[in-house]
């Protein structure tokens, strides 16, 4: 951590100390009568004060305000972000031309022969309207056009799920942010409503930013959100429905005495945003947390309130983790150790663990940690400090940010929303007129079998979109093979698959000394062969396999015979176009004794969401094929391991559209 004293280095220049020249008249003045000496002395002191005032003014303006002192200090002590693996790597390395992979060794002989026309030597692939319009999803939430980012204030009220979101009404880029609004009976079929809140007050003139809802025991809805004021100061504001009897909650009122919270002393004016849902303390007060940072330490501030209008800042921090940077979209909630249900945000006690989650500004990833909430000392303590918030587990190892949960008391579940940005170039977003999706809402619960991670799973209502299904039992795939899965078109699918490695072959495989050596993100993706992997499915593939997205397991056998499994999604061959992200995402996934390798994949045009081992590890990716689109998209089973065959059983459903559209009161729900 940087020390702020270094920032004073630049101030320790000789000029900050005004050298006073010897007065040539000093000696002469001593001979003067005493009264004149005194007068001269007074005038001399006055001059000095004047000069030092002028000098101080000059110095002060040069160093600006205290906030800048802090960021200057941070800048002077900061280390440059590391290379590869980080999404914030300088452009040239982030967009490395996919070197001509030529023949992906061993994917299949069939592929070797057919794959001759490689367009991967720097030639640009022209996008046309057909390819771009294919990218729009059928059953993921997105507005009709323009830009969207963070989910805001999700809630369930009088029979409707409400979803609000950061929205730009003027273009396919981030800017002019206001609150969009949509409603649904089932978290899947959405209807767009008018904008809930716009930037019409001085305190949110520069942005009606992210916030959360709290539903009081009497049913009253409280919305707290961040406003960027007309001077770009981040403040917290209170809003509530104009008419609580309107189940559609169309109109919203901002509290006349907003803002209710200003950045506290020591916190930067632009480091104070995204208030959480409130929870009740044992003293009967409401408590919220707001993320921020001190130098490069991410922190969570705590406030108590009884009426959501005046707040008491609690001394100390709910939690802090060094070197994680600014904490955005903090979320803090209980999970049950005993039942699969979600818990109301205010629950605490035995049988309960707490989850702290943050979105890291530095790397655009969402991290969480499981631990204990010590209410008395207002502290969150992670169970595994080595994997604390921001340095341990992620909700999702692909594109997934600014996520937020809410407790759905109608079904006693905790539901997670996540913003899925684009992985293509801006000119494509401008051409297609929109950018960003929301992930399919997921239930979140503690994995009681491992105790050390959460389980995420698409909400059950998504299954109402399932149309006809095709089932395949015990398909065998030898090393280096690709097996077509005939389901007809393959752009809107719900896939549930299980894999087993041939036991006898597994036993013959030699152990590795370093069982942790495989890393999805730095690996060669599905083309990098190992003894026990990769194997899985190729989604959004074309017949000639010039484009495909492998979702796969990679297993390493350790010296004690134990297996360590990674779960990855490889975008490197997802498109022949060169202006899309081609990384491989993923992480380790716990596979317990007696479990098969299992995966669920939702394919919906340009989004692929994959859930391994019941949701222990998830990967969301955006893919932009140019050939594997519409009727040409296919599904394959593949096994690129060198030493083992695998047996796969899968069920594949065609998915209907969710017909997300503007609200029409004349139409039935």
């Amino acid at each position: 951590m940087g020390s702020s004293t270094t920032s004073n280095e630049s101030n320790d220049i000789p000029c900050s100390y005004i050298p006073v020249p010897d007065s040539p008249d000093a000696a002469g003045a001593a001979v003067e009568p005493r009264r004149q000496v005194k007068g001269l002395f007074v005038i001399f002191c006055g001059m000095l004060v004047l000069i030092s005032l002028v000098a101080f003014n000059g110095y002060y303006r040069a160093s600006n305000n205290g906030h800048e002192q802090a960021s200057l200090a941070a800048a002077l002590t900061k280390i440059i972000v590391e290379e590869s693996g980080s999404e914030t790597v300088p452009a040239s390395s982030r967009w490395q031309q996919a070197a001509s992979r030529g023949v992906s060794a061993g994917v299949s002989e069939k592929t070797n022969r057919l794959f001759s026309s490689s367009n991967s030597n720097g030639e640009m692939y022209p996008w046309n309207n057909s390819m771009l319009s294919w990218q729009r999803t059928a059953f993921h939430f997105q507005p009709e056009k323009n830009w969207m980012n963070d989910p805001n204030g999700p809630l369930y009220y009088k029979g409707w799920y409400h979803f609000f979101y950061q929205y730009n009404p003027n273009g396919a880029i981030w800017g002019d942010i206001v609150w969009g609004h949509a409603i649904s009976r089932d978290l899947i079929h959405w209807q767009h409503l008018p904008l809930a809140m716009v930037a019409d007050q001085w305190y949110d003139k520069n942005g009606v930013w992210t916030g959360s809802a709290t539903i009081l025991p009497n049913g009253e809805i409280i919305m707290l959100y961040t406003g960027s004021t007309n001077e770009s100061v981040q403040v917290q504001n209170l809003a509530y429905p104009a008419d609580p009897s309107d189940p559609l909650l169309i109109d919203w009122v901002k509290y006349p005495s907003n803002p209710v919270l200003f950045p506290p002393p020591g916190i930067g004016a632009t480091d104070f945003r995204d208030p959480t849902t409130a929870w009740l303390t044992s003293q009967g007060k409401w408590r919220i947390t707001i993320g921020s940072k001190l130098n490069k330490t991410g922190i969570a501030l705590v406030y108590d309130t009884v009426d959501f209008k005046t707040y008491e800042k609690i001394e100390g921090l709910l939690h802090a983790v060094p070197k994680t940077g600014m904490w955005e979209c903090v979320d803090f909630f209980p999970v049950s150790k005993e039942v699969k249900n979600g818990l109301d945000t205010s629950i605490n006690g035995a049988g309960v663990k707490h989850v702290m989650k943050v979105s890291l500004d530095d790397d655009r990833h969402d991290y969480y940690a499981i631990g204990t909430y010590d209410e008395k000392n207002v502290k969150f303590i992670a169970d595994d400090v080595k994997n604390d918030v921001g340095i341990g587990l992620r909700y999702d190892y692909g594109v997934f940010y600014a996520s937020k949960t809410f407790f759905d008391d109608s079904k006693a579940r905790r539901v997670l929303w996540g913003w899925i940005g684009e992985s293509d170039a801006e000119y494509a977003d401008v051409a297609k007129g929109w950018a960003s999706l929301q992930g399919i809402p997921r239930t979140v619960a503690l994995d009681t079998k491992t105790g050390s991670n959460l389980l995420q799973w698409p909400v059950a209502e998504v299954e109402s979109l399932r149309l006809r299904s095709d089932e395949f039992k015990d398909l065998k795939a030898k090393p280096g093979s690709v097996v077509p899965i005939d389901v007809g078109t393959a752009t809107q699918l719900d896939i549930v698959a299980e894999f087993e490695i041939e036991k006898e072959e597994l036993e013959k495989v030699t152990s590795e000394s370093n069982v942790d050596k495989y890393n999805c993100e730095s690996s060669g993706g599905a083309a990098q062969r190992g003894a026990l992997g990769p194997f899985g499915l190729l989604v959004l593939a074309d017949d000639g396999l010039s484009e495909y997205t492998p979702v796969y397991f990679y297993v390493v056998k350790g010296s004690d015979g134990n297996l360590k499994t990674s779960f990855c999604s490889d975008q490197s061959r997802s498109s022949v176009a060169n202006d899309v992200v081609k990384k491989t995402f993923g992480s380790f996934v716990p596979v317990l004794e007696g479990e098969k390798f299992s995966v669920r994949i939702l394919v919906d045009h340009s989004i692929v969401e994959s859930f391994a081992q019941g949701g222990r590890t998830t990967v969301t990716s955006r893919v932009y094929p140019t050939r594997a689109i519409y009727g040409a998209a296919r599904l394959f089973l593949f096994n690129n391991a060198t030493d083992v065959s695998i047996t796969a059983s899968l069920k594949v459903w065609q998915m209907n559209s969710a017909f997300i559209r503007p609200y029409n009161p004349d139409q039935s729900n």
């Binding site: 001269l40 000098a55 720097g122 770009s232 000119y427």
Partner: protein, 176 residues
């Protein structure tokens, strides 16, 4: 008494003459140090220094202000490229027609997408969107250059756009 008056006036004058240059020099030294240290944290120190020093507003600007100046430099580089693209399109080189048209759409995206997003993000206080916009602008310039398969008439402009954008993104990183 007039003797005393002259002495004090002379005295004041002396102090002013010796200290004022130091005060002015002090401020410039402070600003220079910020510009230099910021530019050292970018992949292209020279491009950074040249771009910032060319704009008088850079002296006295904080890091956010320096980033906003770089976004203005991005605008000027994008306009340079667009102007040359239009010129080449008018002079009717048919073999490069598709590539030029494609480049035009990429630079259009920079001008109406990346740059406004970056400027607004810096001005309103959510700098990560400025980093994204700058990174994308650098990519768009690279994509444009790749359109020509080695025979690009826009290499100078694309390189300038790329380098300036990459520097901007690096400066914004300090704000995260």
């Amino acid at each position: 008494m007039t003797n005393l008056k002259t002495i004090t006036i002379f005295f004041f004058f002396l102090i002013a003459m010796t200290s004022l240059p130091s005060i002015i020099h002090c401020r410039t030294l402070n600003d220079d140090k910020l510009i230099e240290s910021t530019c050292r944290r970018t992949p292209n120190y020279n491009v950074c220094i040249q771009s910032l020093k060319a704009n008088p507003a850079s002296s006295g600007a904080d890091v956010n202000g320096l980033a906003q100046i770089m976004v203005k430099v991005m605008t000027s580089k994008a306009n340079d490229a667009i102007n040359l693209i239009h010129q080449l399109q008018r002079s009717g080189s048919s073999s490069q027609k598709t590539a030029l048209s494609s480049c035009a759409s990429k630079y259009n995206a920079i001008l109406i997408g990346d740059i406004p997003q970056a400027a607004e993000a810096l001005q309103k206080g959510d700098p990560k969107f400025a980093e994204d916009g700058s990174n994308d602008a650098a990519n768009e310039a690279t994509f444009c250059e790749n359109e020509f398969n080695g025979k690009s008439p826009l290499t100078k402009q694309n390189n300038a756009m790329h380098d300036v954008s990459v520097v901007t993104a690096a400066i914004v990183r300090n704000l995260l």
